[in-house]
């Protein structure tokens, strides 16, 4: 199985924010420098080694310290300069040529040259876990200290987009003489912040990098991330102003955040759906899968499970990112039709169908109960099982399940991100052949125009709609709680926010 | 001179939420230099009588009636199991000196000296060494002597002894009994000695009260009661004890078991095991008081026999 792109699989629904900052200058007066903010997140970063990034928090935080060549723009539609001030994609030569900013230094004062960038590209490519995501890259060249040429086997626009992702970070050549493990316990980069102190699982304190290439940013002197897993504790800290913001408040608690302190991402670039094991009965029968899809009343589901803080799913790929063109088809609902489809399928009433859900949040259990109730209404004998999240992942990977409930969120500004995950996981653990999606992605990867992109995505959407490797049910919202003290928080649909633009009012 | 008089003592115990009267109308008195022996089978209420007299009923048991008159002087008690009745965490001397000081005041050193004297008085050899010992480091006999010394440290007028020799072997038993006898003679103590062992009672008691099922069934001077028992229970009790002095007869345990307090009645409680009973035994039987030196029993049969004979 060839893997091209990534996304963050958020089965635990442990949502934190992801993405990167942007270089757009703030519209308002930039004099508001100084101050400190404390932000709460439910899960800590996976450490500083980009190859180990799984949590969204990691993709969000790594570039704050170790900036990449480019970063995505705030609306996610384009690529913005990072360490590189400009770049050109030569489709014929299959190269991207980056020109680094003048006078770049790492936070320890060492100059940053194209050698460091080339070393970093090598690092990404060799990554055990992420390496294949850079599969199009075949090599680098460094004609001078400020020029980096990335050679590819095809003119991949996706690779360029992916270089703006949180795992594409620039580190000193040969880790500045340290071992990889040592370097990543005390990382040095050229991002807007430096690590002041880091206690894994507890607290990360970032401080302004005085050597950052943009003298105006970051605005904050200090940015503290406190890891607090318990939602009540999060809310108490926030209400007592021991913290200024919460990244991704559990939607249960939405009612307890005053209206004016909510930053709502409606909907986020996340698909919530029922994953189907299509390698064994009854999921191997398309009629059964259609029956399941028809059984889910998506509007009702969004209301019941998310309290209305979600949009009913209208396609199989996440909305509001580059290339989200929708399906051009509809996901219908209807008990009678569903029963008719079920009758056509090989499913015999009375046969137990396992629906496995993550046990660790009341929220996912509740989603399971709602889905189970709707499936039972058409005559599927659902056996709802709560599983600890890693057990669930294990069973999905091994195909030891019938149905499961999950969420997949985009971490990058392009819908192609999810393509990669779908391919890598065999259609989110359906076991169906992913040839069509793979081909569609090959077209998407080299697409130069929105039309070409739209055409490629629509092929995939249509195939998902017709074959239902998974059944999309909702596009959930994400909610940030933000106290009046915090200024300049702008959250993208894929949940990144530029931390260097935050201000403490 | 009467030092202690117990009148119509009643004690109940709560079991499964109901009150059971386990001691009923127990009366006895003891004078200076006198030894009252209370004898009976296990569970007849002998120990409970002593504890009630002392005011040390176990939790769950309460005195529900009766009167206890003690002269100006106090009571002290010697317990059966000297192993359990001495605080295991305290050196003998500390405990003894504590008691002495509590009673007589004075300095620690003085109390300690008196403690040593007391130990010497009860026949503990090398008292200074023993004062530093923990109870478990002493032999059974020495421990019981310590118990007696503790009791004597409070300068009591009446000593209540609950089976003081049961845990000891025969030689030690005799020694302890002699010690009690000496203490009685020298200090003019009244002694109430409880035992299930008729031989022990015979050895030291002037007056004997026989208890059965929470009542005194026969009382009188020791010689009268033990040699000319009136109550069939007393006869059985004596018969059940192999005597070294008397003719070697067969060992005859009393058949049956004492009744449970739940089925106590005003009728003769020994009737089911007696064998001589008739209708009269099913009516109320007279209570027996060990207040004076008259020999009497609660057996209605005996009184009728007696009348017939005279």
């Amino acid at each position: 199985m060839r893997i091209k792109i990534t996304a963050c699989l958020l089965l635990a629904m442990t949502l934190a924010a992801g993405g990167c900052g942007t270089a757009e200058p703030p519209a308002d007066d930039p004099s508001g420098r100084g101050g400190s903010l404390t932000i709460l997140r439910a899960a800590d970063i996976d450490g500083w080694d980009p190859d180990k990034a799984i949590q969204l928090a990691t993709f969000q935080t790594l570039p704050q310290v170790m900036e990449g060549l480019v970063r995505p723009s705030l609306d996610g539609a384009s690529i913005q300069p990072g360490l590189a001030e400009k770049w050109t994609l030569d489709a014929r030569a299959k190269t991207i040529t980056f020109t680094l900013r003048k006078g770049l230094t790492f936070s320890d004062g060492t100059p940053l040259t194209s050698k460091d960038a080339a070393f970093s590209v090598g690092l990404w490519r060799k990554g055990l876990s992420m390496g294949t995501l850079y599969g199009a890259i075949t090599g680098t060249a460094t004609p001078d200290d400020r020029t980096l040429v990335i050679k590819m086997k095809k003119a991949s626009t996706f690779t360029l987009a992916w270089l703006g992702n949180g795992s594409s970070i620039v580190v000193p050549k040969d880790f500045g003489g340290k071992s990889r493990a040592d370097f990543f316990t005390k990382p040095v980069g050229a991002g807007p912040f430096v690590v002041s102190s880091y206690q894994p699982g507890q607290r990360l304190v970032l401080e302004r990098n005085s050597r950052y290439h943009d003298p105006a940013r970051p605005y904050l002197d200090r940015l503290v991330y406190d890891v607090v897993a318990d939602p009540n504790q999060q809310l108490l800290r926030y209400q007592s102003r021991q913290a200024d913001a919460i990244e991704a408040v559990p939607l249960d608690l939405a009612a307890q955040i005053p209206e004016e302190e909510r930053v709502l991402v409606h909907p986020s670039a996340t698909i919530h759906g029922i994953f189907v094991n299509a390698t064994k009965a009854p999921g191997d029968d398309i009629h059964f899968r259609r029956a399941v899809s028809l059984a889910i009343d998506r509007a009702r589901y969004a209301q019941a499970v998310f309290g209305g803080l979600a949009a009913p799913a209208t396609g199989g790929l996440p909305p509001r990112v580059q290339g989200s063109v929708g399906c051009g088809c509809t996901y219908e609902t209807g008990i009678d039709k569903a029963k008719a489809e079920l009758a056509k399928s090989s499913y015999r009433p009375g046969t137990k169908v396992e629906l496995v859900v993550d046990a660790t949040t009341p929220f996912s259990t509740r989603a399971g109960e709602t889905a189970a109730a709707q499936l039972r209404a058409i005559g599927i004998d659902v056996d709802l099982q709560k599983l600890e999240v890693q057990v669930l992942v294990d069973r999905q990977a091994k195909g030891a399940y019938h149905l499961s409930l999950g969420e997949v969120g985009s971490v990058s500004p392009t819908v192609g991100d999810i393509f990669g995950l779908i391919v890598a996981t065999g259609g989110l653990y359906s076991g169906l052949p992913m040839k069509t999606i793979e081909d569609a992605f090959d077209r998407l990867e080299v697409a130069r125009t929105d039309e070409e992109r739209g055409a490629a995505v629509r092929v995939a959407e249509t195939w998902i709609h017709d074959n239902l490797p998974y059944i999309p049910t909702a596009f959930p919202d994400r909610l940030f709680a933000v106290s009046p003290k915090v200024k300049g928080l702008k959250v993208t649909p894929f949940l990144s926010y530029p931390a260097d633009l935050l201000q403490a009012g | 001179m009467t030092l202690l008089a117990v009148d119509e003592l009643r004690v109940s115990v709560r079991r499964r939420g109901t009150e059971l009267t386990v001691l009923d109308g127990v009366s006895f008195a003891v004078g200076a230099g006198q030894c009252l022996g209370i004898v009976g089978e296990s569970g007849c209420g002998k120990s409970l009588t002593l504890r009630a007299t002392m005011g040390l009923l176990p939790p769950g048991a309460t005195r529900t009636g009766g009167d206890i008159r003690v002269g100006r002087s106090g009571l002290a008690m010697v317990f059966q199991d000297s192993h359990a009745s001495l605080d295991p965490t305290m050196r003998v001397g500390t405990f003894l000196a504590d008691v002495v000081r509590r009673r007589r005041g004075g300095t620690r050193a003085a109390a300690r000296r008196q403690a040593a004297e007391l130990l010497a008085a009860v026949g503990v050899p090398d008292p200074d060494l023993r004062l530093r010992a923990y109870p478990h480091e002493l032999s059974g006999g020495t421990r019981q002597r310590v118990s007696i010394a503790l009791a004597l440290a409070t300068d009591p007028r009446v000593l209540l002894c609950d089976e003081p020799t049961t845990a000891l072997d025969v030689t030690l038993q005799a020694e302890i009994l002699r010690l009690l006898d000496t203490a009685r003679a020298e200090r003019g103590l009244g002694v109430v000695l409880v035992s299930h062992d008729v031989a022990v009672i015979r050895q030291v008691a002037d007056v004997v009260a026989v208890m059965y099922a929470g009542q005194i069934v026969e009382a009188g001077p020791a010689a009268d009661v033990l040699d000319r028992p009136q109550h069939p229970y007393t006869r059985a009790l004596i018969g059940a004890v192999p005597s070294l002095d008397g003719p070697v007869g067969p060992f005859r345990p009393i058949p049956g078991a004492p009744p449970d307090p739940a089925v106590y009645t005003p009728a003769c409680r020994f009737l089911p095991r007696c064998g001589h009973g008739d209708a009269a035994c099913r009516g109320p039987v007279p209570g027996v008081h060990a207040l004076d030196l008259r020999h009497r029993s609660s057996c209605v049969q005996h009184s009728t026999h007696h009348k017939e004979r005279t």
């Binding site: 055990l128 504790q233 057990v391 890598a424 | 939790p59 009571l75 009745s85 965490t89 504590d98 409070t154």
Partner: protein, 315 residues
């Protein structure tokens, strides 16, 4: 110390060995027992089968179990607890970082629960029929049935949030901050642990109260406070120490919940998150530390009980 006591201590120490061995074995077996493949967790959702296999090789999980056990033992013998699979941080550093909060919490919990339980136990044992004792007993019954996270949440949202006197959670940096931040968690864990402690302590006091030697003391005219101090407490001490040691073990469990509720960066919270992430080196090390802690506490309790009791010689 007499030869007999030395022998006792030695014997008790020898008894620890098989327990320790079994603990080690279980610690290593944990990985086998807990479902959820650590290699897959580490490799991430997009990893291929080959990549997962590679991670498994890197972690040494493809080795036979006895080799893993041996490797673990030899590392342990060198004082090396290993590194976290996830962050690569040496576990000794993690433990050093996290132990503080847990130790504070346990100390606070022990102090609060003892301070609350001791008077309650004395009251219930010495004046069992008094109105106060009855009220006390009933309140304990109710308290023992309150879920601990409830107590914590109530304390935090009512006491701390309303008044602002105390932090609602977190650990703080300075000694003063830590002291303040420990008040509510200690109170929570103390309140949760106290009813059982009070009840068992009252029970053992009652047992001592009914003991023959206390009757003897009372027959000798020793009553009131001198009786309590000289005879009751002294004899109730060994069971109380044993109780406290059991309590300390229970506190460790409570600590997991309370650390979670108050967002304290303790070992319990770390164990929960490491278990959730299948970070087995951390899970193993923490299990081992907790286990050894409990073994040590039990050992100390047994030894001090033995030393408190002059009768101890052999067994």
């Amino acid at each position: 110390m007499s030869a007999g006591r030395l022998r006792f201590v030695a014997a008790r120490l020898v008894q620890v060995l098989p327990v320790l061995t079994a603990l080690l074995l279980i610690v290593v077996l944990l990985q086998q027992l807990m479902p959820g493949d650590p290699a897959r967790v580490m490799a991430g959702p997009r990893a291929t089968v080959e990549q997962v296999a590679q991670v498994r090789r890197d972690l040494g999980l493809d080795q036979p179990i006895f080799l893993q056990f041996w490797a673990y033992l030899t590392n342990l013998a060198e004082g090396d607890l290993g590194r976290s699979n996830r962050t690569g941080i040496p576990i000794s550093a993690i433990v050093g970082d996290r132990a503080g909060a847990t130790l504070w919490l346990m100390a606070g919990g022990l102090i609060v629960s003892t301070a609350l339980a001791a008077p309650a136990a004395l009251l219930m044992a010495l004046r069992p029929r008094s109105v106060a004792a009855r009220i006390c007993a009933r309140s304990l019954t109710i308290l023992v049935n309150c879920p601990p996270f409830w107590i914590g949440l109530m304390l935090a949202s009512v006491l701390a949030l309303r008044t602002g006197w105390l932090p609602v959670g977190g650990f703080g940096e300075t000694f003063g901050e830590r002291l303040r931040s420990m008040v509510l968690p200690s109170l929570t864990i103390g309140l949760a642990a106290m009813p059982l402690l009070a009840r068992s302590a009252a029970g053992s006091l009652r047992q001592v109260l009914a003991a023959d030697h206390v009757t003897t003391a009372r027959s000798l005219g020793i009553t009131g406070w001198p009786l309590v101090r000289r005879h009751l407490l002294r004899n109730a001490m060994p069971p109380a120490v044993t109780l406290l040691s059991v309590q300390a073990a229970a506190l460790l469990f409570g600590a997991v919940v309370v650390e979670q509720t108050f967002g304290l960066p303790g070992l319990g919270a770390e164990l929960v998150s490491a278990a959730g992430q299948r970070d087995f080196p951390v899970v193993q090390a923490l299990t081992l530390i907790f286990g050894c802690g409990i073994i040590l506490i039990n050992l100390l309790a047994d030894l001090s009980v033995a030393l408190l009791d002059p009768r101890t010689t052999w067994r």
